[in-house]
């Protein structure tokens, strides 16, 4: 029964390739996966070995093993062999703790965890920062340094396919050096319990070819296309702009400058359809308990839809 479950589980393992340490798209995650494989094989061999010794022990007739023989076995199997194996493991694994080399010209991306979304600031060498939210784009084949902070509570920044996780702790700046090696669309999540919507705090990760990344970065610096209309007026009249910036500025809530390009709504949890967006405006706590954004329950649905439609077009 157990065997069939394990086989079944392994089959299921193939399903997810965008948020899995078993489907790496970066150097760190790839070497960790190799390490994982070695550790798993070692663990299985040891577990089977112990089981075998146990079976032999139970089956052996009384007195087959004398006192001296037993003590030798404890010394060798219990003490010396584990010591040798663990020493080898340490000598192999300790150097792997060293972070990737970093250089000043590397792209720095500052990500700040907030309840329950991500503030993202791209800081390319020699250029002004670019502000975004809930989406991280990185160039393939180049070293990228994430600078990770938080102000409200502790969060943890984890892109399973790219590298291990790193906590975001108020009062500290942690650095995570990564290098993606396979373009694609992936997902990152918050890995440290951070409150009511901890489970609903994710972000999109887009690993792009370097040229495409540079082009995207340049395009993002163009002032967003402005469309006027009912949605724009409502956005302002309802006070949305008090928190949400529309021109790459800092705000209390997530930047919405290029909302239309985003692949998800509400920090990686919903498809960014007009209907979802309107529903989120009127009752954000339904899909995101504990979110700071106040509910606009009194807003007529038509108004909410108008804002949503306008946001989708905005900056596209």
């Amino acid at each position: 029964m157990r065997k069939s479950i394990i086989v079944g589980a392994l089959l299921l393992a193939g399903c997810n390739s965008h948020q899995s340490a078993l489907a790496p798209f970066g150097l760190e995650a790839r070497s960790t996966l190799t390490m994982t494989t070695v550790l798993v094989i070692g663990a299985v061999v040891i577990a089977l070995g112990v089981a075998l010794v146990f079976v032999l022990a139970v089956r052996a007739p009384e007195g087959r093993l004398d006192h001296a023989g037993g003590m030798r076995m404890v010394l060798w199997l219990g003490a010396i062999v584990p010591t040798v194996v663990l020493t080898a493991l340490l000598v192999w694994a300790l150097p792997a703790m060293r972070p990737l080399p970093d250089a000043v010209q590397n792209l720095r991306v500052h990500v700040e965890g907030e309840q329950f979304w991500w503030r993202v600031r791209y800081k390319p060498q020699g250029q002004p920062p670019l502000i975004s939210a809930n989406e991280v784009r990185i160039p393939v084949g180049r070293t990228v340094v994430f600078e990770l902070t938080a102000t409200d509570v502790i969060h943890s920044f984890w892109i399973p396919g790219l590298a291990g996780k790193m906590d975001m702790i108020p009062g500290r700046t942690n650095r995570l050096v990564v290098k993606a090696d396979k373009a694609g669309t992936y997902r990152g999540i918050c890995a440290e319990f951070c409150g009511l919507s901890h489970a609903l705090m994710a972000f999109d990760v887009i690993a792009m070819e370097p040229a495409a990344f540079d082009a995207w970065l340049a395009a993002s610096r163009e002032p967003p296309m402005r469309t006027e209309g009912r949605g724009a007026a409502l956005f302002e009249a309802s006070g949305c702009n008090a928190c949400h910036s529309l021109n790459g500025g800092e705000g209390i809530g997530p930047d919405l400058t290029r909302f239309g390009e985003r692949r998800t709504l509400g920090a990686g949890i919903l498809p960014p359809t007009v209907a979802n967006t309107a529903a989120f405006i009127r009752d954000p706590h339904k899909s995101k308990p504990g979110a700071r954004m106040p509910a606009y329950a009194a807003m007529p649905e038509a108004d909410a839809l108008a804002i949503a439609r306008w946001l989708k077009e905005h900056g596209r």
């Binding site: 479950i5 663990a43 112990v50 006192h67 584990p82 399973p160 996780k165 890995a191």
Partner: protein, 840 residues
């Protein structure tokens, strides 16, 4: 040649009648709860802890139902957070640790051939504290007010009062109360093992269970106090807004993580080693031979205990600390696998050398070993930091820790349950039901937790109330949920088995034909514990010592009588168990239960911010403790010595380092000093965190003058007490009283001088972590000065009341131990807050 003529049947019966009367439990609806006998208190303790385990198990089932399918909405996020917080907290604080203490309270006196533990009333107090605190914490979920910050309670989520409610206070204060009772139990168990062994039971003949208990109780002494220190800082921040963990005012959330995990990792071994201790008792029984490699087990227990204090940062691998720091802990985390492997092979080798007799307990032991080995191997994996950066805070770790705890705590306890049930009730449990339950739990545990290794690596973080369907984790989670219900079915079968026990036949005495002392217990158990306290010459006396059981039963060993109508047991020396004295034990009393209620009041009332009522409750606690000490300790006996048989005569009063009370004080103060070191760690931790510490703007306080004055008077009170003890022993009672008075005056002056530093320099503890930690150290130390004054006043009163004389001076000797530690506290505090800013 015995003093008593044990061949005389009539005499034996008269002795038994006297013993029976002395050890008779209180009866009646209310009075029965005043009992302090270890057998009954232990059973209440076990049942309560078992009840909490079932409760926490149900919480887990609700969680598994919520996670059975993606995007489920059975419970909302808020409820789910309360569920996992309580599940972890209850399993750890209200099941695993108390269960080990409970089992030990029942077993230890039997294993050591003692009539009871040295401080039966302390056990009762510990039990009532545990019950009150446990109900308070777990009950909160029925009012939707349970803690919801995770069992690790990381600030600032939990310290910011706008982000977390009453639940955080309930956790912090309710569990602090239970931590106090855990430390009380640790004191009891250490003194029990070291001082209450039967004559002849040298350290090398001690049952291995006692070795483990000794080691684990010492671990509690060093592991729980840092958490208590953390709790103090935590509540100071929540209730008074002192910013220890607030980064904007110079605090650091990581300070909490350090203090929590210095507790948290040893905690894992605190709940694991006692279960291995049960194996060490039952494996020889079912291998029908002595355990091979006794010193190896001692190596493993002591080695694990030490190494477990060098692992805590592996819970903080992802916090961004320098890799070199992480690497030290990674290395130690690997090293701890060595003593664990040694233990496993000691058991295997013993089975190899012996003749294996299959039984339900051995089946559980085998199954748990299998599960534990898997958990241990994944433990070696997560100790490798790069792997842990992926696995940390995912379901992989959930799988790992449940394999370890089910294989290393829960199933061994079930093995112990099936093994020791006849000892406690005189009846065996059903082998058929036991085996059914075993297979359900074994298969269920693997079905539930094995898939989690995969779901974790596939990106499922811990503590999520839901997960999206497109992750493809639905199948693995459904398997886990089914597995959890299979485990629950197994536990239900065990509960059924237990419920049917009262209708079963009594089993024969020593039904497993074991060789250790506890199996002297008779199916129709008498309350006196053991008929006569034996002379031990072997590790397995029932197997090896001729006519052992008969001689014990016929009272042919020591202390077969209770002529003076008092509960008594023998105190022996630490290394070689030479008889030292006979001590009188406390009998049934209302004091433990009342003290527990009053102390519980302090914590519970503080939770609801009823500070004045809490203060009243605190005064009441103090009064009750004093009444307890006054009436129940250091009693001057009616005669100096009494014979215990075989021509041996032992004193009835001892003081100093031969006495249990002295050891209890010493051990308690070790715990106190450890908590204090947690606070001092806080001070220097802040120093490493800031380029300028103390901050320039606040560098005036507390100055040098007042701390040095406080140091001087603190040391003066210590010297006065030490002098008083010495002079008192020489018979100069008057001069000793004057010195004690001086000690009181100096302690009170110490309170003023200690607080004057931060007070007069106007340090605002809400402004920054620096003034906050200085105030905390000053308050901690001056509070200890206040306690010193109370203790010295107590000593003076004892002397004036004629309850303390130069020959009977336990009171002042024990207080002197306290004063040694006070001197240490005073020196460290005032040198730190007074002089360190001068150098920093």
């Amino acid at each position: 040649m015995s003093l008593y003529d044990q061949d005389d049947v009539a005499l034996r019966e008269a002795q038994e009648a006297r013993l029976r009367k002395v050890w008779e439990p209180p009866k009646g609806l209310f009075l029965r709860w005043t009992d302090t006998n270890n057998n009954r208190v232990g059973v209440w303790y076990v049942l309560t802890a078992f009840g909490f385990m079932l409760f926490a198990g149900v919480l887990a089932l609700i969680m598994r139902m919520q996670l059975a399918v993606p995007d489920n909405d059975l419970v909302d996020a808020g409820t789910f957070n309360q569920l996992f917080t309580l599940h972890g907290s209850v399993m750890m604080f209200l099941f695993a640790v108390p269960m080990f203490e409970a089992v030990s309270i029942i077993l230890l006196p039997q294993l050591l051939g003692a009539r009871d533990l040295p401080f039966p009333r302390l056990s009762a107090f510990g039990y009532w504290s545990f019950l009150i605190g446990g109900v308070f914490v777990s009950g909160s979920i029925f009012f939707d007010a349970a803690p919801d910050g995770g069992w690790f309670m990381y600030p600032p989520l939990t310290t910011r009062t706008d982000l977390s409610g009453l639940g955080a206070d309930i956790w912090m204060l309710g569990l602090s109360f239970i931590e106090v009772s855990s430390v009380a139990a640790a004191v009891e168990l250490i003194v029990g093992v070291l001082k209450c062994r039967p004559p002849g039971m040298r350290l090398n003949l001690m049952p291995l269970y006692a070795w483990y208990i000794l080691v684990v109780a010492v671990m509690i002494l060093f592991a729980f106090p840092p958490l208590i220190a953390g709790d103090v800082l935590f509540e100071m921040e929540r209730l008074l807004d002192w910013p220890f963990f607030d980064a904007q005012r110079g605090g650091d959330p990581l300070l909490w993580q350090h203090l929590f995990w210095i507790f948290g990792h040893p905690e894992v071994y605190i709940v694991f080693l006692p279960s291995i201790a049960l194996f060490a008792m039952l494996v020889p029984t079912f291998a029908r031979r002595h355990l091979l490699g006794y010193p190896w087990i001692v190596l493993a227990a002591v080695g694990t205990a030490f190494l477990s204090f060098g692992l805590w940062v592996h819970h903080m691998f992802a916090t961004g600390l320098p890799k070199i720091s992480l690497a030290f802990f990674s290395a130690a985390s690997e090293a701890v696998a060595i003593p664990t492997a040694v233990q496993i092979f000691v058991f295997i080798v013993t089975l190899w050398a012996g003749r294996v007799v299959w039984s339900t307990p051995l089946l559980y032991a085998t199954g748990s070993l299998a599960i534990f080995v898997i958990g241990g191997l994944t433990g070696v994996m997560v100790a490798v930091a790069p792997f842990d950066w992926q696995a940390h805070d995912t379901y992989f770790v959930v799988a790992h820790l449940h394999y370890v705890l089910i294989g290393g705590t829960l199933m061994p306890l079930f093995a112990g349950l099936y093994y020791y049930w006849p000892l406690i009730t005189g009846k065996k449990l059903s082998d058929r039901l036991g085996r059914t339950a075993f297979w359900l739990i074994f298969v269920g545990a693997n079905l539930c937790f094995f898939p989690m290794h995969l779901s974790g690596l596939e990106g499922m973080p811990r503590r999520v109330f839901t997960y999206p369907e497109e992750l493809g984790l639905g199948g693995l989670n459904l398997a886990s949920t089914i597995g959890s219900f299979v485990i629950a079915a197994g536990v239900a079968v065990i509960v059924l088995d237990l419920c049917r026990s009262p209708w079963r036949q009594k089993a024969p005495r020593n039904p497993w034909a074991a060789g250790t002392l506890e199996w002297l217990a008779h199916p129709d158990d008498e309350d006196w514990g053991i008929r006569s306290i034996p002379l031990i010459e072997s590790r397995y006396p029932i197997w090896d010592q001729e006519d052992f059981v008969r001689k014990v039963d016929e009272g042919r060993y020591f202390l077969p009588d209770a002529e003076e109508g008092r509960r008594e047991t023998i105190v022996t020396s630490v290394l070689d168990a030479r008889p030292v004295s006979v001590i009188r034990l406390g009998g049934p009393s209302w004091l433990p239960i009342l003290t527990a209620v009053a102390l519980g009041g302090v914590f519970i009332l503080t939770t609801y911010h009823f500070y004045w009522a809490a203060l009243v409750s605190g005064m009441l606690t103090l009064a009750l403790v004093l009444a307890w000490l006054w009436t129940g300790t250091a009693e001057i006996p009616e005669k100096p010595c009494k014979p215990i048989g075989h021509g041996i005569e032992l004193p009835l009063y001892i003081s100093g380092d031969a006495a249990p009370g002295w050891w209890a004080m010493f051990i308690t103060m070790m715990a106190d000093a450890t908590a204090f070191s947690g606070l001092v760690f806080g001070y220097y931790f802040f120093w490493t965190r800031h380029a300028d510490f103390p901050p320039m703007a606040m560098a005036d306080g507390p100055g040098v003058l007042w701390p040095m004055a406080a140091l001087a008077v603190g040391l003066a009170s210590w010297l006065a007490t030490v002098g008083a003890r010495k002079i008192h022993a020489r018979g100069k009672i008057g001069l000793a009283r004057v010195l004690v008075l001086l000690g009181i005056a100096a302690s009170l002056a110490g309170i003023y001088a200690g607080l004057a530093g931060p007070w007069l320099s106007g340090m605002d503890p809400q402004a920054h972590s620096y003034p906050a930690i200085v105030w905390t150290l000053a308050i901690w130390t001056t509070a200890h000065c206040g306690v010193a004054a109370i203790m010295l006043a107590y000593v003076l009163a004892r002397s004036l009341a004629g309850k303390m004389t130069p020959q009977h001076d336990a009171d002042i000797r024990n207080v002197t131990v306290y004063m040694h530690f006070l001197a240490l506290t005073v020196a460290v505090t005032y040198l730190t807050i007074g002089l360190f800013p001068e150098f920093a």
